[in-house]
Amino acid sequence: MSKKFLSGNEAFAEGIRLARPQVISAYPITPQTIVVERLSEMVEDGSLSAEYVHVESEHSALSCAIGASAAGARAFTATSSQGLLYMAECLYYAAGGRFPIVMMNADRSTALPWNIYGDQRDSLSQLDSGWIQSYAENAQEALDLALMSYKIAEDKRVQTPYMANLDGFVLTHTYETVDIPARGQADKFLPPYETDNRIDFDSPKNMAFSAGPDTNCIFKYKEHKGLLAAAEVITETEKEFAEIFGRKYTGLTENYRTEDAEYIIVTLGSIAGLCRETADKLRENGVKAGVVRIRYMRPFPNKEIADVLRNVKAYAVLEKDISFGNEGTVFTNVNSALKKAGVDVKGYNFIGGLGGRNISGADIGNIYTSIANGTESVNFIGIGGGDNGK
């Protein structure tokens, strides 16, 4: 183990080096560029033995990773924003083909207006593509997820590609101290990839085939079950990770001071730390504030969300996303979890940080005040309400 002062991108690249992918396909895009630059340096200096393929587009980057995975290789790619959207067609191929590729996505705004800064509209627009989706809060978690991602994705019960999301700039370009696990320990944790889902000249099989109306639904059902199975595999993987590396993670969600909380902000990604700090301050003034950080949007933590919000007076969902004409997508998912569990509490949506706009501690304090007093169902931080029928 060694300690280094690294950015989120650099920390993620360190985690990928430890995971030993055999093929890396990459097309650079801000704010993802540094992760693929670092990996190319690692391949160049021999500290990572991988085929590094510099492709001509994001569509090709993921196509190349799919081809590598179909040959039985552990494959990695990374993208962001317009790049993710450009490769959208291939996302579904990777998931439907059950290729456990890992991809880092640097969460960034989508055009127009053109903007390179962070928000989560790119990845959240692809929730239905069949990928596991994690959202890291800090560089250490990003590194640890890079290492855990392959173990989760490649598990026989899961066999599903994994999208590790890092908030653009706020996480990808922010430097902090991270522990880099020792290579021997990482190898013990993550053995080489072995699969039957690959091209094998000794035992030829049909791959990436068509399935008509009679069987298509069965494949989709199995794909769904594979993604659902990721929930328990994530728990098992984090337990093993904690035993080897000593760092504990809490599954699909992370709760903070929620036991007796009356007001909770549900959020995801790097803004969660400021939410916790704000909750601490409010508690000094007698407000029972708490925070739920969603770590995985897929599989979605339906039960965890319903359990933690069951007894609150009101909750807010704070997200860097808007599904135009309705509300934030995370809010929709949270509300569905509550409805299924028969939980009926007041909930409000706060849209913030779009195109990289700073969210301050005062903004978060205002969210707690607003949900205690009641407000519009959908609120744009610092701008106003935008309801679509209450």
Binding site: I116, T174, Y175, E176, S270, A272, N358
Partner: protein, 171 residues
């Protein structure tokens, strides 16, 4: 928490200085934490850039931009404006690389020290002045950060410039 706001122009190394301070503060220390980040955006030579370093004895989880700084370090005096006082804590200090006096700020001719060591920019000199004035890190820690995070061929000149700046403040 100690917060430092760095102002410079693209190419002057304000973010490198912000990063070095964070690295120096956390070197070989399990109870010290730091965040360093630039004002995000495309990097253009000559354009004004801001960078932030946050230092604390507990994990720094607030990733928002600094609203009140303990120190504002300005690498280019054309970027100084009196409005910057509003970004300063009451006990805060503004340090400017300038040959001229500026009301409400400490000025040093950092460019001359940089030139003395054949450095094209004064970022490590300003880092040294901050170290000397604030004591937030020791000069040993600052030197170790340069050794750990700057390219080998420019380490020694930057270390010499930094130590000269620390000495300058002591005098």
């Amino acid at each position: 928490m100690t917060e430092v706001l760095w102002l410079g122009r693209g190419g002057q190394g304000a973010f490198t200085a912000a990063k070095l301070l964070g690295a120096a503060y956390t070197i070989d220390d399990d109870i010290k934490y730091a965040l360093a980040f630039p004002s995000f955006g495309p990097e253009r030579r000559g354009a004004p850039v801001r960078a932030f370093t946050k230092l604390d004895t507990k994990p720094v989880v607030d990733r928002s931009q600094t609203e009140k700084a303990d120190y504002i370090v300005i690498l280019d005096d054309t970027l100084y404006s009196p409005q910057l006082q509003g970004l300063l804590k009451p006990t805060g200090t503004i340090i400017v690389n300038s040959k001229n006096d500026i009301d409400g700020a400490l000025t040093f001719d950092a460019d001359s020290i940089a030139a003395e060591f054949r450095l094209p920019t004064a970022n490590t000199v300003m880092f040294g002045l901050l170290v000397g004035l604030s004591g937030v890190v020791t000069s040993d820690e600052a030197v170790e950060a340069i050794r750990g995070y700057m390219p080998a061929k420019i380490q020694e000149r930057n270390i010499s410039a930094l130590l000269k700046a620390v000495q300058e403040v002591a005098e």
